[in-house]
């Protein structure tokens, strides 16, 4: 039972790593491994622990931090960034074509 819960946690952490990669962050498999090991030294149930663990293992450049923060919020907290006013598309999108999701630039946080 403990194993099932643990593997659920690991799945979630790995999925987060992939989510970052999907958004263009250069997250390697080693980084994801390090992320899981890091969380294992802390409390996987504590979101702040998970947040800071990811920031230390999945991000290697200062410029990537705002994007990391935003994706973390979406993935773990379900918080979508507020949208700026976008022109409403009059033309219906044909079935089968892909839409584009416009995510406005996140503000660089006041992260110390």
């Amino acid at each position: 039972m403990a194993d099932a819960a643990a593997s659920d946690i690991v799945d979630r952490l790995v999925a987060f790593g992939h989510a970052l990669r999907d958004e263009g962050l250069p997250v390697g498999s080693d980084d994801v491994l390090a992320f899981c090991s890091a969380v294992a030294t802390l409390n996987p149930g504590d979101q702040e622990d998970v947040f800071w663990s990811g920031r230390a293992t999945l991000v290697h450049r200062r410029e990537h931090l705002p994007l990391y923060d935003e994706i973390f919020r979406q993935f773990f907290l379900g918080i979508r960034p507020p949208r700026r006013d976008e022109p409403i598309l009059e033309k219906p999108v044909p079935v089968g074509s892909s839409g584009t999701l416009n995510i406005p630039d996140s503000e660089p946080g006041d992260q110390p």
């Binding site: 250069p26 390697g28 080693d30 980084d31 390090a34 090991s37 890091a38 030294t41 802390l42 702040e48 622990d49 800071w52 663990s53 920031r55 230390a56 293992t57 991000v59 290697h60 450049r61 200062r62 931090l65 006041d110 992260q111 110390p112």
Partner: protein, 296 residues
């Protein structure tokens, strides 16, 4: 109290408390990165502005664990030998001379010169030998070049070196490694991936005030707050050398020395040298001084 290196604190709050006890205020993010580094034995790369406490963290991590701090100060042009070891050429020559004068030199003399007693240990070799009893600080790695970075990366992976004639020296346990960078250039991905990453920016007004209170117990709150406010305004100016946290503390100290209770224009002008170190910056600041020390 400790005659052997102590185990690292088990939790992030405990680590923060331990650091605070030696005068270092680490926020949750930094403390978490440090905790992970200590627990996993992974190097920690600290990037950030000058004077925000990158080097200081390494010193404090050593202090709280009763470990030796071994510092490798990087600079432009540093080569692997200066960081690792050098042969004591002068001593070797004297040795050969002495043997020759006594007509004791023979076929083994030259190879005998490449022995432990003629080896000058530099920080990296020292760190390999000290192993888990040390914290290795590789300071300002951005000042070194690509080649040195590659060499360092190899060392961080194996923690051993082979010295011809002497043999292979391997660390039996790994030291804690902290690297710092002022970001004067971008480090290579390979090195970055080997490390945990944390960016340290300037502290917020509240954080810096807390640091001043911690470092200067008994400081008048109003004065401390005014100085911190002034320093934050100084950082917004386009200075060549913006003041770091150490300068904030120095400024409060300097004002205490001249027995000032209030940071007004005159007091600031008199003590400016404690916080602004660059000639051109001084001129720029003097023009803005009224605004810098203004209330509110």
């Amino acid at each position: 109290m400790t005659d052997a290196a102590a185990a690292p604190p088990a939790t992030v709050p405990e680590l923060q408390d331990a650091l605070r006890s030696v005068g270092y205020l680490a926020d949750r993010g930094l403390a978490t990165a440090a905790h992970i580094g200590l627990q996993l034995g992974r190097p920690i790369l600290l990037e950030g502005e000058v004077g925000v406490g990158k080097t200081e963290l390494a010193k404090c991590l050593a202090a709280i664990q009763g470990r030796e701090l071994i510092r490798l100060q990087c600079y432009e042009g540093i080569d692997t030998y200066q960081a690792l070891y050098e042969w004591d050429y002068a001593r070797q020559m004297l040795h050969v001379r002495a043997l020759s004068e006594q007509e004791l030199a023979d076929a083994t003399t030259v190879s005998g010169l490449y022995a432990e007693e003629f080896l000058l240990e530099r920080p990296l070799l020292k760190a390999i030998r000290a192993g888990g009893n040390a914290v290795l600080l590789v300071d300002e790695i951005d000042r070194a070049d690509d080649e040195f970075e590659a060499f360092l990366l190899e060392l961080l992976s194996d923690f051993q070196i082979t010295i011809p004639e002497v043999g292979t020296v391997a660390a039996t346990s790994r030291p804690t490694v902290v690297l710092t960078s002022n970001r004067t250039r971008e480090l290579h991905d390979a090195l970055k991936r080997r490390c945990l990453y944390h960016w340290i920016g300037y502290p917020s007004l509240e954080e810096e005030l807390e640091i001043v209170r911690l470092r200067i117990p008994g400081v008048a709150d109003a004065l401390a707050a005014k100085v911190v406010q002034a320093v934050h305004r100084l950082r917004d100016l386009d200075l060549a050398k913006p003041p770091g946290v150490a300068e904030t503390i120095d400024w409060v100290d300097a004002l205490g020395v001249v027995d000032v209770q209030e940071l007004d224009r005159q007091a600031a002008a008199d003590t400016l040298g404690a916080v602004i170190k660059d000639r051109d910056d001084v001129e720029l600041v003097e023009a803005e001084l009224d605004r810098v020390v203004a209330d509110g």
